[in-house]
């Protein structure tokens, strides 16, 4: 830690925004408040799923196949059991499965975005600040990355991971593979924004000053440049979260999603769409509505955040 008080202009700007403006616009926007409440409720119920859910759908020993296809709030013809949102083809309580599935969806989404963010920011900072061949390599890699549809990236990582993981870890592996795959297809956005901002910032006086007093490039990047690009990064992260949750669902449709023994919301929808025509609407409807509510609220929050953090739009 250097003992010189460097001008901390970037940090303070964010602070001010968080302290006053952001909260102020938040309270003025009913859409943002409703979305925030919805997200909060969904996240809480996902986190507390083991406490709220009537059953644990991930424990195969607890399932009774004869409970399969029970309609919501109607006693099962064989077992007489009744379920709030009905059961699916395996006799799993749909309500519990949604709670547990949301845990997985949220975990995959948050972890993937976090991974993409860290990777993207790091590579963006480095390529913007260092330039030269390093930049060329990083940005060309970004091109390669964009070239590969995320579906293919997922399948690639899936295949390789499958080859090297013992089977008893594969259920967990699927989740990490999803995180890696979605994260890898998302980092380019972060990297591009951060690189652009770094190119602008690195020639400014305060950075020159920091360099003159002998701060290491790492410190300059982290302490001075990074705080300046945090607001666009935050916006991208929020919107990416919604996209990541949807992407997980799409991958599941192509058969590379979460395993059916530990389904995510996307896997539940993939399973449920098979019952759209057969009359068991609840297997599709409830997970789909939950996913919609979750992604929509996150998107709306991201929307609001973008407007709120862009002072010129106010």
């Amino acid at each position: 830690m250097s003992d010189f008080p460097i001008p901390v202009k970037p940090k303070s700007r964010l602070r001010i925004a968080l302290d006053s403006d952001l909260f102020y616009t938040f309270r003025r926007s009913p859409v943002a408040m409703v979305s925030a409440v919805v997200v909060l409720v969904l996240v809480l119920s996902a986190v507390l799923a083991p406490l709220i859910a009537p059953t644990n759908p991930f424990n195969p020993a607890s399932l009774n196949l004869m409970n399969g296809f029970t309609p919501p709030m109607t006693p099962n013809a064989f077992t007489g059991e009744s379920f709030f949102m009905g059961t699916d083809d395996q006799g799993r309580d749909v309500f519990s499965t949604i709670l547990y599935g949301m845990r997985i969806s949220l975990f995959v989404g948050v972890a993937a975005v976090f991974f993409a963010m860290v990777l993207g920011i790091t590579l963006g900072l480095i390529s913007g600040y260092v330039g030269g061949w390093t930049e060329t390599i990083i940005m060309r890699t970004a091109d390669v990355q964009l070239t590969f549809p995320s579906i293919l990236v997922a399948m690639l990582i899936f295949g390789i991971a499958k080859g090297v993981t013992p089977v008893e870890y594969r259920d967990q592996m699927a989740i990490w593979v999803l995180i890696l795959a979605i994260g890898l297809s998302d980092w380019v956005q972060f990297a591009r924004v951060v690189r652009g901002a770094t190119l602008v910032e690195k020639n400014k006086e305060y950075v020159q000053a920091a360099r003159l007093i002998g701060r290491t490039p790492g410190a300059i990047m982290l302490r001075h440049i990074l705080p300046n690009v945090l607001s666009p990064v935050l916006v991208i992260a929020t919107i990416s979260l919604a996209l990541a949750i949807i992407a997980e669902a799409t991958l599941s449709f192509l058969g590379v999603g979460a395993p059916p023994t530990q389904p995510s919301l996307g896997t539940l929808i993939r399973i449920g769409q098979g019952f759209l025509f057969s009359g068991e609407w609840w297997i599709l409807l409830f997970p789909a509505v939950t996913l919609l509510a979750l992604a929509l609220s996150v998107n709306l929050l991201g929307d609001w955040l973008r407007d709120a953090l862009n002072p010129r739009l106010r």
Binding site: P60, M66, G68, Q90, P166, E168, P260, G274, F275, S278
Partner: protein
Amino acid sequence: MRRSLRLAAILAAFAPAVQAEEFTWAVNTDPQTMDPHAVNSAPVLGFLNNVYEGLVRRGKDMTVEPALATSWEPIGDGEGWRFTLRQGVMFHDGAEFTAQDVLFSYQRASDEVSDTRSWFSPISDVVVVDDYTVDFMTSAPNPIFPGSIANWMIMDSGWAEANNTALPDKENGNYATLNTNGTGAFRVTAREPGLRTVLEPFEGWWGEAEHNITRAELTPIQNPATALAALLSGDVDFINPVPIQDVARLAENPDVDVIQGIEARVIMLGFPHEAEALKYSSETTDTNPFADLRVRQAVAHAVNVPAILQTIMRGNAQEVSQLVSAAMQGYVPALAERPAYDQDRARALLAEAGYPDGFSFGLKCPNNRYLNDEAVCQAITGMLAQVGITATLDAMPVQNYWPELRADNYDMYLLGWSPGTFDAEHPIRFLAATPNEEKRLGSWNFGGFSNARVDELLPMIQSEIDAAARQAMIDETTKILQDEMAYVPMYVQPLVWGTRSNIELTQRPDNFFILRWVTVN
């Protein structure tokens, strides 16, 4: 070539002016080739049965009936079979059908590069006696030979040579991959692989047409929901398969009919008989519990097959106790009873075998091969967990599945088997015989099940002419396989077709869709 074009034009000009009855059907897998000898798979052979014909064919109830041969009889004391050919049969291009075409098609279909080669492994020689008589000499008496070649389709030797397709080419394809020239009731008039295949009736067909179709189009639709939507909206007249869960709803719909039958395919669980140890266990690393008969029996008692049929199969499948279904030749009615669903007995057997606290292992399963395969495996995982053996389910697409099984990467696996010959000998040869590359035995016996008596009985079954004696040997083999719990046969997969209600057709148990039995009303 030129001659055939002119002939087609003449035929078209003379075609009677009937009302156009167009028929569109959708399947989940497009036939990958039009070459009848290149790939021995149901989508290909099923489709080509409408275009090409064999010496014999199977009727609506699977009985063997005359096609390009009018009659056949054994030669001497089981030295072979003599086929008398039908006269006056024309190929689609106008060429005449003779014994030379039979010999050529034999050479083509039995070549090393042909996928149909194994049908001819009993054959030692083929002799053309005259233009309409052919002898098939067998190295040992072979009572089921005529039935076993019902899907062997005859190709015109002149056409094949003219178009440089004397042998099938799997790697690069050739003229016969995209073009056809059979003797069947329909000829292919347009072929866009993966998109559509158009058929029109062949005016010069030797048989009596039962259908009233003037044009038929085949379209592959992979996504089951899309296929169902296409049937419900009337965009197609027929789909195969109908997702099992939609059967009940469809049956209520007045515009649509559901046709159900029992398919030949038996779904079973397989074990690693030969393995030293489990591959995917977290505690039992130096033993293979499945080598113990009692553990295999415990599995059989732990799986609640009636519940699977009730829910996942929606009451559309039948339990089975042996490797073939009751509709097949050689089924043993006396051994029809399955091991009862009995959790206590399963636990007792496990305790007796030294696993009172159970063990963990890996279950391999395909997720796009059999009807609801993944859901069935999931249910089995739950049922086994309830008696204390915890499976880690690893479900994968079939293109990854077979390589995994070949590499012995499983502790238990799901397998479906449909006997191509409709005879109990077939699964014994492929699934129960000790694997032997040279004799081409046990090639799907992944677990390496081996029983000396079964190996001894198989060649005897293959060459026994007396039906009763043959059945007695099949009875004995079936009993051994049940007692040894070589596999756990669970149920016979149902066959579910959906049509618009103005269509009449016949469903054959081998899941082949025969266009000449279709009537559009």
